[in-house]
Structures are given as structure tokens and as C-alpha cells.
């Protein structure tokens, strides 16, 4: 019984669905070239898609499990070597192997992009390949099925109706319509063929959800080519800084504030910004972590903050050569002290300003002092270093340095990404496609009403098995409805086939 059922499934499938999805051989002149034909067939394979998806999952998993070198570190061989040395303490022997396989920078490697490229090609070609078959299923489904179809359909039933054929057909039609099925009929002298389906457009969900992936990738490319990103755009309070990157914008920080909950965690970080275009004020406002500001497609996000030291430097002739807030936005390798620097190119000097370790007594730099280290600009050799107390100028080498006061700086992320809208549209299409596909699946039922010699009618129902899902319950429900419409009690009448999938 069961084994017969299996054969019946395949037979019914072959009868029911037009030869399409997956197995169709591409036709047309272009594909007569066998090389292209082979390439095409290679990409239509679902097995390829599965292999690619699983490789991609494994690669992404490796990217989660292993430390990834930040792009800025990876771009600079020297700092990448340093990074690797630190990684060696964690991964030991494996470090070189992982490094050889580029596993410390997975998401930016060529092979990762290659997998994504292959998968995209696979998606596009599979979609093209399935287009015709799905279109036929949605718009051109057969209404009349043969006797053999009803004999072998996975789910089938035969009901005896004590009424003329046309009446029975009309009742079946209405019963199916009441179950929210779309009904088509074809009549010839001896029988009425009925085809009913629901959610047929659900089939197009496949294309929406797959092509949205391609669209999302296109969005990332558009963003990469036409956009820019400055993740560490630092502006000190009172200072104005040019955005650059081909824009005519500059940003002034009026004020930065941070607030904390009584329990300790941060409550609010906000920057009051003014945006200038070609020197003219065009926008002003307060940005917070969850409310960025945008001007002509350039967005300003609150990313981080810190302290600055306002430094005033005079040269031997007492002329002021520097008077600005120096953001202490980096950390020293030893002691993790906040550090910032500025260049005095006229003097061939680079000056580092180092603040005390926050939150504890720093033995080297007491609170209220800054350590100032002066280096030669060309050779990088140390000229002199001194601690400078706030408000007390001090001679360091041939410079006179004053630590005027502390202020704050804000760290912004400045982003322009024209691809992002493509990504949101694509995302909406993806969710729409998936919801159509899985929450409103396409269901199809065929019926055949035949006139019997005694003036009564025989109604046959058939539903094909779907490979992915059993329709047992749906078929049972419809059979009951149709039976009731024909005046047959749910428990009796008719012979029913079908059951669970095998």
C-alpha cells in the first residue's frame, strides 16, 4: 500500500506539473554552444546552491569564532604583524595556518567575495531557470486532468452525488470558492472539469526573496562606490572641522554632554553640532546615539567622545604658533593613558600630549597635569619631555608650552551611503517574498464531475502531493466541504485515498 503510494506520487507529479523546474534543459540558440550549456547547467544546480550556502555558513561561523583584524590594522603590514603576534598567544601553532587561509580577515578576502559572487550567479540563473515553469503554474494551469490523474493522485476521493452533473459541478465550485479557492471550470458534454487554487501568487515569493539578495548586494556595491565613511571624525568643543571626501561641508561642535543613570550606566551622549556648507551655516541640532543628523545625504552619528587638552605653544620669539584643543583620542600602549598629538611643521616638531590614567592615581602624571613630549618631525627622535601643570607655562626645549584647560571632544561617524535605500527596499521585498511563500502557500485541487447513466453524478477530487509538505489536512478539510455541499455526511460516502506522506 505504502510503496504504491510512493509511485503514485511521482506519477501524479509528472502529470500535474508542466516539465519545468530544475530539470528543464535550456533551449535557444545561445545555449547550443555546449560550453555555455554546461556553465548554465552547473549554475542551475540546487546542489551547488546548497554547497555554497553551507560553505558560506562555515566561513561566517569561522569569522565569528576567530578574532578578526580590524580593516585599518590589516591595511598596514607593520601593525598587522603586531596584531598577529598578539593573536599567536591565543592560537599558538594554528596562527600561521589561519593566517595562510586568510581566516583573520575573512569578510574582506577574495575567496569570500568569490563565494558570494558564485552564489549570486547561482541565484540569478536558478531564478531565470524557474521563471517559465512558475509562470505556467500561476497563469496557465491545466483545468482538465485525465482519469489516470485522479486514480493516482496522492490525495484523491470519489464522491457519489444524487443530482445532475451540472448541479453537482456548481455545488463543488461554490464549496471550493467558499474555502477561498479561485475556481476555473471547463465543460464538455459528459463532464465538468474544475481546477481550484489559492494563493497562487505565493509562487512569486521565490523570486522576490531570492532577487532581493542580489539587490542587497547591489546596494552594498553602490554604497561602496558612491559613498564614504569616516568612522573616527573627531571635533573638539568650539572647533570646526572640514568633512572633506569631496563635500563642501564642515562641522562645528558647540557642546558635548554625557549623562549617567544613578545606577552607573550611561544615560545619554549628545553633541550640539553646526553644519556649514562653503562656510555658510546650513543646519544645526543635537545628535544622540539613536538620533543622527543628516544633511544632503551625509549623516553624522554619535560614536564616541573623550577629553581634550587646550594647548598654547609659543616659540623663542614669544609668537603664538599653536593654540588649540588637542583631542586625547588614543591610548598609550603602556599605562593606557589618553594621548593626542599635533604637528608644528614650521618648527619641525611633533608634540604628544599625554593625560593621566583615568579613575586612579597616576604615579607619573598627577591630576591637573599633562605630560608633553616633543619629537623631531623628520627623524622622530625625542627632543624633550616635561610634565606641565594647568595654567603654568613651561619651557620644553626651545618651545614654551602652556596647558590652558581641559575640554571635551566628540567622535562622530560621518557616513554617506546612497546604497542604503536600495538595501531597505530589497529587505522589504525579501520579507514580503518569504511571508508570501511560507505563510500563504499555493494550494491546488482538481475535480472532475461526470454524468452517470442514472442521471446522477460522480465527483472525483485530486490533489497532488508536494515534495516539501503534506497536504493531508487541507485535503481532508476540502473533501468534507465538498461532500457537505453534495449532501454527503462527513463520515460516510465516497472512497478516499491518501494519508500521510511517506
Amino acid at each position: 500500500m505504502e510503496t504504491q503510494g510512493v509511485r503514485a506520487v511521482d506519477g501524479a507529479e509528472a502529470l500535474a506539473s508542466p516539465p519545468s523546474a530544475g530539470r528543464a534543459r535550456p533551449s535557444g540558440r545561445l545555449w547550443e554552444l555546449d560550453v555555455l550549456g554546461h556553465v548554465w547547467r552547473f549554475f542551475t544546480s540546487v546542489r551547488l546552491a546548497l554547497v555554497l550556502i553551507l560553505i558560506l555558513a562555515a566561513a561566517v561561523l569561522a569569522g565569528t569564532l576567530l578574532d578578526q583584524a580590524p580593516p585599518s590594522v590589516f591595511a598596514d603590514p607593520a601593525s598587522y604583524d603586531q596584531w598577529l603576534e598578539r593573536a599567536r598567544t591565543k592560537y599558538g601553532f594554528w596562527t600561521d595556518i589561519f593566517n595562510f587561509l586568510q581566516l583573520f580577515n575573512i569578510f574582506h578576502t577574495l575567496w569570500f567575495k568569490l563565494i558570494i559572487g558564485l552564489l549570486t550567479t547561482n541565484i540569478i540563473i536558478c531564478s531565470l531557470n524557474r521563471w517559465k515553469g512558475i509562470k505556467t503554474t500561476v497563469f496557465g494551469a491545466r483545468v482538465r486532468m485525465s482519469e489516470t490523474f485522479f486514480q493516482h493522485a496522492r490525495y484523491n476521493a470519489s464522491l457519489a452525488a444524487a443530482m445532475p452533473m451540472t448541479t453537482a459541478a456548481e455545488r463543488v465550485r461554490r464549496a471550493l470558492a467558499r474555502s477561498h479557492y479561485r475556481v476555473r471550470t471547463e465543460t464538455d458534454g459528459a463532464s465538468v472539469a474544475i481546477y481550484a487554487d489559492r494563493n497562487r501568487f505565493s509562487r512569486f515569493g521565490t523570486f522576490l526573496s531570492h532577487l532581493s539578495i542580489v539587490l542587497i548586494l547591489a546596494g552594498t556595491v553602490v554604497g561602496g562606490v558612491l559613498g564614504f565613511k569616516d568612522p573616527e571624525f573627531i571635533v573638539a568643543e568650539g572647533a570646526t572641522r572640514e568633512v572633506g571626501m569631496g563635500t563642501a561641508l564642515s562641522v562645528k561642535l558647540e557642546h558635548f554632554a554625557d549623562e549617567y543613570w544613578l545606577e552607573g550606566p550611561p544615560k545619554d551622549f549628545r553633541s550640539e553640532l553646526v553644519i556649514y556648507e562653503n562656510g555658510q551655516e546650513v543646519k544645526r541640532g543635537t545628535i544622540r546615539v539613536n538620533s543622527p543628523m543628516s544633511y544632503k545625504g551625509v549623516r553624522f552619528h554619535q560614536a564616541f567622545f573623550g577629553q581634550t587638552a587646550v594647548m598654547k605653544v609659543t616659540d623663542a620669539s614669544s609668537a603664538v604658533i599653536f593654540d588649540e584643543a588637542v583631542p586625547l583620542a588614543w591610548q598609550t600602549r603602556e599605562g593606557s593613558r589618553p594621548v593626542g598629538s599635533f604637528d608644528l611643521s614650521g618648527e619641525n616638531r611633533t608634540v604628544y600630549v599625554i593625560g593621566p590614567t583615568s579613575g586612579e592615581n597616576d604615579p607619573l602624571i598627577p591630576a591637573g597635569e599633562m605630560r608633553v613630549e616633543v619629537y623631531r618631525g623628520d627623524t622622530g627622535s625625542l627632543v624633550a619631555a616635561e610634565n606641565v601643570s594647568q595654567g603654568t607655562p613651561k619651557a620644553i626645549g626651545d618651545l614654551n608650552v602652556n596647558f590652558v584647560r581641559e575640554t571635551r571632544f566628540t567622535g562622530l561617524k560621518v557616513v554617506k551611503d546612497p546604497g542604503v535605500n536600495i538595501i531597505w527596499v530589497a529587505s522589504a521585498l525579501m520579507v514580503l517574498g518569504l511571508v508570501m511563500l511560507f505563510y500563504f502557500p499555493h494550494r491546488r485541487m482538481w475535480a472532475l464531475c461526470k454524468a452517470l447513466p442514472d442521471g446522477k453524478a460522480e465527483v472525483r477530487l485530486g490533489m497532488t502531493a508536494q515534495r516539501d509538505v503534506s497536504l493531508t489536512e487541507e485535503f481532508k478539510r476540502l473533501r468534507e466541504r465538498v461532500g457537505l455541499a453534495l449532501g454527503i455526511r462527513p463520515d460516510g460516502g465516497g472512497t478516499a485515498g491518501g494519508g500521510d506522506d511517506v
Binding site: 552619528h301 557616513v415 481532508k476
Partner: protein, 288 residues
């Protein structure tokens, strides 16, 4: 309000534990009586005639519904007490995950009358609640990155539905592996379990995609990038890829049974990793 939430939590644990015991009595007792017969196979339901064990099962369901109601109350009280959705730290996430697993399970029990799945899903929910007792349950104020009421609520609410659905699929897959030769008379037929796993994934998969998309949208607002390969983002992508692989294998290549059950187990491992991964890997999601 905070205390009410704690009382409701205790009530949840009590109701859920008792429900699991009753499910156990139902399943083992019914099994020993061989109350289920394969002749029932035509329908998805495995319920048979009345009997003491069926009664135990019915009370088990009632208690599970009660546990669900208590847990809902606990989350509501907590929301009122804290002034934001109960999604701000690991304690709240765990309660919400348990809520999602219970909600999805009860929906499936109601719809397909497959009480047996409860024996696997309810302990998962209980495990999450027990885990919650081991992490600090203080109400924590929202750090600036989380101060987006709409996205916090929708992003996490959708996530717990997806996770709940995947927990259910996991339960079905485990039962499938136990029952793959249809050798245990009191378990549903293996095809039914296989089907149930698939249905759960079809509920969870679109939700999981939505979670990732909402997360990307939020990241774009708060951090200025929709994707930064943060560990939690990446792990959620792995999860989506595994279930995507499962769907393709099953729908287009006809994978059934053991192979697809293994994928469901792998998928749930990835789900748990997504859920707890940030505890081990830090990253932008390290709030709790």
C-alpha cells in the same frame, strides 16, 4: 511592580515544572498502555480515547497555558516597572525566549494536537527560566544605544518568535531521530514529526530574516552602519544560512528524515549560539 513580576516568575516555574511532570505521566503512561495505535496515522493527532493518562495530558496542557499566562504577566509587570520592553539584559532576554518557545509550542499544540512535542519544548523553556535565575535580575536602565523603544520592542519580539519556532523544530527533530524507524508505538509517526519540524521552520525563517533586517536598520540609525560583522550579527546570519540550507535541501532536493533532522539540530545550536554568543565574544551587542 517589580515584586509582582518576581512572584509571577516563581508561579511560572512552578506551573511549568508540574506541567512537565504531567506530560511525562501522559506520555509514559499512555505508552505503557499502548493507547496510541498506528491506525490513527491518518490524522496528525495521536490522541486516542479518554483514559487517566489523557486526563493527565489535558491537565498538563492547562498548566502549560497557565505557565504561559504567568510568564506573560511577569513580563508585563516588568515592563511597567522598568518603563521599557523586557529586553534590556540577559535575565529579560531569557524570560522572553522562554515566552517565545511556550507561545509557539502552545500554538502548535492547539493547531496540530501534538502534545508529545511539549515534552521536549517545555523543558527547554524551563531551562531558560532556570538559567535566568543565575544571572542578575535587577532592572537595568537603558544605555543610549538601546534607547529606541520601537525598534527595541519589535526587533526582540520578532527574535523570540523566531527562536521559539526553531526550538520547536529542534524538539521535532530530536523526536524524529528517536522515532525514525517508527518503532515506538506511542510516538507520532516519523513523517508527522518531520513535517512538524518543517512547519516550525517555515514560521521561524521569515521571522529570523526580519530580525536581521530590523537589526541592520537599527544599527544603521544608531551606529551609522547597517552591517559591521559584529559577532551577534554574524551568528544570526549563520543561523539564517543553516535554515535556508534546510529549506532548499528539503523543498528542492527532497531531503527528508535523518539528514534534515540533523540540519535542524545544527540550526538550533546556531540559534543558541546567536542568543548567548555575545556573552563570550563581546561585540556591539554586549549589553547583558
Amino acid at each position: 511592580m517589580s515584586e509582582l513580576s518576581d512572584y509571577a516568575f516563581v508561579a511560572t516555574v512552578a506551573a511549568l515544572s508540574t506541567a512537565i511532570l504531567l506530560y511525562l505521566v501522559y506520555v509514559l503512561g499512555a505508552g505503557s498502555l499502548r493507547a496510541f495505535s498506528l491506525a490513527d496515522g491518518g490524522s496528525l493527532a495521536t490522541e486516542s480515547a479518554n483514559g487517566p493518562y489523557t486526563t493527565a495530558g489535558r491537565y498538563g496542557t492547562i498548566l502549560a497555558v497557565n505557565a504561559f499566562a504567568f510568564l506573560t504577566a511577569s513580563l508585563v509587570f516588568r515592563t511597567i516597572a522598568s518603563g521599557h520592553g523586557p529586553f534590556a539584559n540577559m535575565y529579560e532576554f531569557s524570560l522572553a525566549f522562554a515566552w517565545g518557545a511556550l507561545a509557539l509550542y502552545l500554538y502548535f499544540e492547539l493547531r496540530y494536537r501534538l502534545r508529545i512535542l511539549g515534552l521536549l519544548v517545555l523543558p527547554i523553556a524551563l531551562g531558560l527560566l532556570v538559567y535566568a535565575t543565575t544571572v542578575p535580575s535587577d532592572i537595568t536602565p537603558l544605555v543610549p544605544a538601546l534607547q529606541n523603544d520601537l525598534l527595541l520592542t519589535v526587533h526582540v519580539a520578532v527574535a523570540i518568535i523566531a527562536y521559539g519556532a526553531f526550538a520547536l523544530a529542534f524538539g521535532a527533530a530530536i523526536l524524529y531521530l528517536v522515532q525514525r524507524r517508527d518503532s515506538i508505538r506511542w510516538l507520532p509517526r516519523s513523517t508527522v514529526l518531520d513535517e512538524m519540524g518543517y512547519k516550525a521552520v517555515t514560521v521561524g525563517f521569515p521571522m529570523m530574516a526580519l530580525v536581521i533586517i530590523l537589526g541592520a536598520l537599527w544599527a544603521d540609525i544608531a551606529w551609522g552602519t547597517y552591517w559591521s560583522w559584529d559577532p551577534k550579527e554574524t551568528a544570526s546570519l549563520v543561523t539564517l544560512l543553516i535554515y535556508g540550507g534546510y529549506l532548499h535541501a528539503r523543498v528542492l532536493r527532497g531531503w527528508r528524515g535523518q539528514r534534515s533532522a540533523m540540519l535542524l539540530i545544527l540550526g538550533f545550536a546556531a540559534t543558541l549560539f546567536t542568543y548567548y554568543g555575545n556573552l563570550f565574544f563581546g561585540g556591539l551587542h554586549s549589553y547583558g
